[in-house]
């Protein structure tokens, strides 16, 4: 792309847009880039009129064939080199394809503030945009990269099924995590800084419960039966997650579980009153349904067995062995009967072993396992339970809710109590001797370390002591001779994540005992490594851990937010719940869930819940779209907006568009942009007029059968809800005599252009009426125009090459439908009328005459050879225009060599006698030394202040001229420009001269359809009324063919290049000699008939 463009303009303010348009008029290819997503006036305090003018300029630039306008694009140093590159960022919504139908806005569940959504409409360009910040803290904190903000927003919006689907995208065990996750997300929740963190885990459980009814009919991922086989050893959270991710990527995983039940510590280490067995079974069943094979009672404990597996066809082996072995404290008496490890105590119970008589129980430890052991003991008949912890309750790593529930159930906590020894008689435990502690300085864990209080020891009488000092790998069970082990009894991994060739490890066996969610994240990471190593299923690679903490910062925490307590889930009475092992905590009611979800601050603004992606359906939105990079090698760089300049060394050949005074007013901005454009062209090789290839209508024949077709755009189906547009097409198509009628999804979408062509070819159409949002098929951009309309026209008439005179465009969207897409009451009837009028328009246009040739003169006269005149002349000559520079008596010294080198014709004159003619054909009479000389030109630049009293006579007898509005270089005569700036004190004359030259050089790009006024010479009587009113000087009187008696009478001619199709001449023509194919009296007569039938 960069090779095509010669000039880069940084900044899309008025200066930049004007410079781009001037350069394009000089046939230069331009890239116009801004880092902002919207094109807006850089001038503070710009009024609405300025904004509208800017909008029109932006549309002109965006759809000029020689200008490539890119928003959200910044120039920055290339990653690994000395050069610069252009990076287009934030491409979540592709502005070139967005139809602005608003479906994304309709489905966005996120509410920021009273009514704000992250999705909104931009004005300039008229596309949708997404406010995306760095990921919400809850998401950043989740090891699995779950998207709590997204599912909370969906729950708040009452869309529980969608919430569950979003949860499922990253979490294969949502029911489990909704109950037992240690929720690092809640710790990170910013709401906690205001009052209390949002109950993210409980909301997740609510979404799962609500969606469970639909689980059976849930769409299953497609399972491959041919993918590589992978052995997963262990069915804990890491193994299950890895198997799930591998199966989704097309692998065939087999889980080998040593036990008779799957789940690892999920089944053996977590009590059923926290995680009911049927939840675990349900989640495992789902994973197995993806094609995962489960082999129970299949221990793989030796290197030999691993090798056997590899020989039998498993391409990789993943060890997810878990840490099922209790670590010991190493205290005296730990081997007494009555002292048990936490895992073995709980595991034994849940496997159905008869519990021993517990009596008075002491639980040693402060983690979740310890609290669980305490609560379980109470359920199995313990007389009393005391948790002994070295620090205070505030430092306990266990979930505060679990601690609270344990206390409710009757457990006690003895804080600052460090066990010293277990004492007993006859090998039977009788007491625990404890050391009283106090809190000292913070240790490596960030908590205050326990320090023994000298002499403060006592004994606690107990019958059972449950030691919860952590877990380790059961080395007695794993006899892998060459398995490298770390300090904590865990497996060490090399940098590639493997420990032996083809053998991987994940979960607690690598990281030591962690939480369920961390074990799952470890399993996912191992699955990623396996997929990457084996090189298949890459397209379904599980997402990497979330590490993008970049992006705009969050909104500041709202001030004055009223305290809102977090909603709690229903919980059974403690006295009753300890009588059984039924689940203790229930889930939210829908009302409570919505209430709780509404507390979320939606920190990341856009939650990336993906609802908009699905709703769009056109592939316009993609939240993971990467920035687009391209080399930036331009011959010139124009800096319109200083904020767009990258840090570091300036780009080569940088030219700054000046600011005159404190800030550029619109007039000064135009001047600066035009002047800079001409300056940028200096020294560049001459440009060639680049004619765009224009394919023709598929079948063009004057005498062929008239077969009009009807296409109705549904604006991404927003206008076709309930098939009403389909019915309209079915009704109007045959009803109004169309050969074929169809409904398009989105006419302005890139893919639909091809469909239009196909429709025309297949149906062999002679013309087309298109009902969309497009009002006209003109190439000028009016107040009402949008990017979508211009895109459709550009695609049809410039890119596809359909002939515009064979297409009638009717704005149905905004005349017959409300903004929400519902048809107005009279919409169908009005649509019928407008389409009928369009059909007439089509018939009318097919008789349009050939476009007459332009007789516009290419020469430009610059009168006055001062600094402004010289600069103007040089700019024009550099652009390839023939220039005559008139040295007036009292201006300028001798011309510089530049003038002569540029091939500028020079005329010395005493004064200007008069100016006659119109734009495109001026006659300037000057008084020279020999006498009079008449100079001819298409445009005139007056570069001397005193010339504002020029003696002007138009062909119609109009005399005199006056300068244009304050600050403008234009005058009352089209085609005559002033290069004497009225506020010259702040603007150098050279700049004014170049700007005037830029103005004289501006041309419209080739129109889609020539609708310039045509003259019937038989009717024209040469009255000149048309020439009097023509604002462009396009209509002029010329001598007709000579007659035998002398020169013929004067008649009107309209120059098509100058005509701006305003139709003013038609209104004043007394004989009806003038006509416009698009806006003629006959055409309007037919339209009125169609409308008023």
């Amino acid at each position: 792309m960069s090779a095509e463009q010669e000039i880069l303009i940084l900044g899309t303010n008025r200066e930049g847009l004007r410079a781009a348009l001037t350069l394009a008029a000089l046939n230069r290819r331009v890239m116009l880039a801004t880092s902002t997503e919207e094109i807006a006036a850089s001038r503070p305090g710009a009024d609405p009129e300025e904004a509208r003018e800017l909008r029109i300029l932006a549309l002109q630039a965006a759809f000029h064939p020689l200008i490539d306008l890119k928003t959200q694009t910044r120039l920055c140093p290339a990653g690994d080199g000395p050069g610069l590159e252009l990076v287009q960022e934030n491409r979540w919504i592709l502005p070139d394809s967005c139809t602005a139908c608003g479906k994304c806005l309709e489905v966005c569940p996120v509410l920021v503030g009273p009514e704000g959504h992250p999705v909104s409409r931009l004005t300039n360009p008229s596309v949708m945009t997404i406010d995306k910040r760095r990921p919400a803290p809850c998401r950043e904190a989740c090891p699995l990269g779950m998207n709590p903000q997204g599912y909370i927003a969906l729950i708040a919006a009452g869309r529980d099924k969608e919430a569950l689907e979003l949860i499922r995208e990253t979490n294969p065990l949502p029911g489990i995590c909704g109950r037992v996750c240690d929720h690092p997300c809640e710790t990170a929740c910013r709401r906690g800084e205001l009052d209390q963190a949002v109950a993210i885990r409980d909301l997740k459980r609510f979404a799962v419960e609500q969606g469970r009814a639909k689980e059976s009919s849930r769409k299953r991922d497609k399972v491959s039966s041919k993918g590589p086989r992978v052995a997963v050893i262990g069915s804990g959270p890491a193994g299950l997650t890895a198997a799930h991710d591998l199966a989704r990527a097309g692998f065939r995983p087999t889980i080998f579980e040593a036990d008779s039940k799957p789940g690892g510590l999920l089944g053996q280490g977590i009590a059923p009153y926290r995680l009911p067995p049927h939840i675990l079974e349900g989640e495992i069943d789902y994973i197995l349904s993806l094609g995962v094979e489960l082999r129970l009672n299949s221990p793989i404990r030796t290197t030999a067995r691993v090798k056997e597996l590899k020989k039998s066809g498993f391409k990789a082996v993943l060890l997810c062995l878990g840490t099922g072995q209790d670590l010991v404290l190493g205290l005296p008496g730990e081997d007494l009967e009555g002292v048990v490890g936490c895992v073995s105590f709980l595991g034994g119970l849940w496997q159905g072993r008869t519990p021993p008589r517990l009596g008075r129980v002491a639980v040693i430890g402060g983690g979740n396992a310890a609290v669980e052991a305490a609560r379980t003991s109470l359920r199995f008949g313990a007389e009393s339970v005391t948790i002994l912890y070295r620090r205070t309750r505030a430092e306990m790593p266990a979930d505060p809710h679990e601690i609270a529930q344990a206390l409710e159930e009757g457990a006690k906590i003895r804080e600052l109590a460090g066990p010293l020894a277990f004492e007993g008689t006859e090998n039977s435990l009788k007491a625990v001797r404890v050391q009283q502690m106090k809190l000292g300085k913070k240790d490596a864990s960030g908590r205050r370390a326990p320090v023994p209080l000298p002499g403060a020891q006592d004994r606690i009488k107990v019958d059972t002591a449950i030691v919860s000092a952590g877990q380790g790998l059961d080395l007695s069970c794993v006899l892998m001779d060459d398995l490298p082990l770390g300090d904590r009894g865990t497996v060490s991994l090399d940098r590639a994540g493997t420990c032996l060739p083809g053998v991987y490890a994940a979960g607690d066996v690598v990281n030591g005992p962690t939480s369920v969610v961390r074990a799952m994240a470890s399993g996912r990471e191992a699955a990623r490594r396996i997929i990457l190593a084996l090189g298949t299923g890459l397209e379904l690679l599980p997402p990497p851990p979330l590490n993008k903490t970049t992006g705009p910062e969050y909104e500041p925490l709202p001030q004055g937010l009223s305290f809102q307590k977090r909603s709690s889930c229903p919980i059974r009475d403690p006295d009753i719940r300890i009588l059984d092992c039924q689940e203790a905590v229930g889930t939210y009611t829908p009302e409570r869930a919505r209430q709780e979800a509404a507390r979320c601050l939606q920190c990341g603004v856009c939650s990336e819940c993906g609802q908009c992606v699905e709703a769009c359906g056109l592939g316009v939105i993609d939240h993971s779209r990467e920035p687009l990079r391209q080399e930036a090698s331009f011959q010139r760089t124009l800096l319109a907006d200083p904020a767009q300049l990258p840090p570091g060394p300036e780009p080569a050949n940088l030219l700054r568009i000046p600011v005159f005074g404190r800030v550029n007013t619109p007039a000064k901005a135009d001047l600066a942009g035009r002047s800079a454009a001409l300056e940028a062209c200096r020294g560049l090789s001459p440009s060639q007029k680049q004619a765009a290839p224009r394919p023709v209508w598929p079948v063009v024949s004057p005498d062929r059968e008239v077969r009009p077709g009807l296409l109705l755009c549904s604006c991404n189906q927003t206008l076709n809800r309930d098939g009403r547009l389909d019915r309209l097409a079915a009704d109007l198509g045959p009803g109004l005599g169309f050969a074929a009628a169809e409904v398009l999804v989105s006419a302005c979408h890139p893919q639909e252009g091809r469909r239009v062509e196909k429709f025309i070819r297949e149906q062999n159409l002679s013309g087309l009426v298109m009902g969309s949002c497009v009002c006209c098929h003109l190439d000028f951009r009016c107040e009402s125009c949008t990017d979508q309309r211009m895109r459709l026209k550009d695609r049809l008439f410039r890119q596809s090459g359909l002939e515009a005179d064979r297409v009638a465009l009717i704005n149905l969207k905004e005349t017959c439908f409300s903004p929400s897409g519902t048809a107005l009451e009279h919409g169908p009837a009005l649509a019928r009328k407008l389409i009928r009028a369009g059909l007439l328009q089509l018939t009318e246009r097919q008789a349009a005459a050939e476009r007459p040739a332009s007789s516009r003169r290419r020469e430009v006269i610059v009168a006055g050879a001062g600094p402004a005149g010289t600069a103007a002349a040089l700019g024009l000559a550099n652009a390839g225009r023939p220039v005559t520079l008139v040295h007036l008596e009292d201006t300028a010294p001798e011309p510089g060599p530049e003038i002569q080198e540029a091939g500028i014709r020079q005329v010395k004159a005493n004064r200007i006698i008069e100016l006659r003619g119109n734009r495109g054909d001026f006659h300037l009479t000057v008084e020279t030394a020999p006498g009079r000389e008449e100079l001819l030109a298409g445009e005139i630049i007056l570069a001397q202040g005193r010339l504002s009293r020029l003696n002007y006579r138009s062909p119609t007898g109009r005399v005199g001229f006056s300068p244009g509005p304050r600050g403008s270089l234009e005058t009352s005569i089209p085609g005559v420009y002033l290069a004497s700036w009225p506020l010259a004190r702040t603007v150098p004359p050279e700049e004014v001269g170049r700007a005037a030259a830029g103005l004289a050089l501006e041309e419209r790009p080739e129109p889609y359809l020539d609708i310039s006024a045509r003259v019937d010479p038989d009717l024209c009587r040469g009255c000149g009324e048309c020439a009097k009113v023509c604002p462009e000087g396009a209509a002029r009187l010329v001598a007709d063919q000579p007659t035998p008696g002398g020169p013929g009478p004067e008649v009107c001619r309209v120059d098509p290049e100058l005509c701006s199709d305003c139709g003013q001449c038609l209104a004043v023509c007394p004989t009806g000699a003038l006509s416009l194919p698009e806006t003629g009296a006959e055409y309007y007569g037919e339209v009125l008939s169609a409308l008023l039938v």
Binding site: P48, E49, R52, C775, C776, C782, E783, S784, N811, E814, T815, S818, P819, L824, E825, H826, A829, L830, K833, V1029, P1031, S1060, D1061, C1062, G1063, Q1064, L1066, A1067, V1068, E1078, T1079, A1081, Y1084, G1085, V1087, L1088, S1089, L1091, L1092, V1093
Partner: protein, 142 residues
């Protein structure tokens, strides 16, 4: 109740620049009378009495000419020419006994949607009430 097409309809000749933009905004907001039929013209200066008379002759209950404000015309003198045509039309409608209340000419800026709605809705009501407007039978009364 008569259908929409049977009710008196008002043709609004709208300059393609500011007035048409206001019309689209007004239509989208639902504030505009459904009896307004838009006819887009390239500039207010395009209006000639014949177009308006043609609309009345074809059965329009009322006709409006809406141009940009004079200082905002993209084609120079469009509103001025439109005003001149409107002056002639006012006389003509009076002379021909077509009911001058059925005709209205005004200017608006791109941000004056409210003005456009007010004027066009007012015209629709006046035209409906006018004894000169088309009766429900569809026959033009002169």
């Amino acid at each position: 109740m008569p259908s929409w097409s049977d009710r008196p309809l008002v043709v609004a000749f709208l300059c393609a620049w500011a007035p048409y933009r206001c019309y689209l905004e007004a239509q989208a907001s639902g504030a505009l009378s459904p009896r307004i039929l838009p006819v887009k013209i390239p500039c207010g200066g395009r209006i000639e009495p014949g177009l308006v008379l043609s609309a009345l002759e074809k059965g329009a209950a009322g006709v409006a000419i809406v141009t940009c404000r004079e200082c905002e015309c993209r084609h120079g003198r469009g509103p001025e020419l439109g005003r001149e045509a409107a002056d002639r039309l006012e006389k003509l409608t009076h002379l021909l006994g077509l009911g001058p209340e059925r005709f209205k000419a005004f200017s608006c800026s791109a941000h004056e949607t409210d003005l456009l709605v007010r004027e066009l809705n007012g015209l629709a009501e006046a035209a409906e009430a006018s004894p000169f407007s088309r009766p429900a039978s569809g026959k033009v009364q002169r």
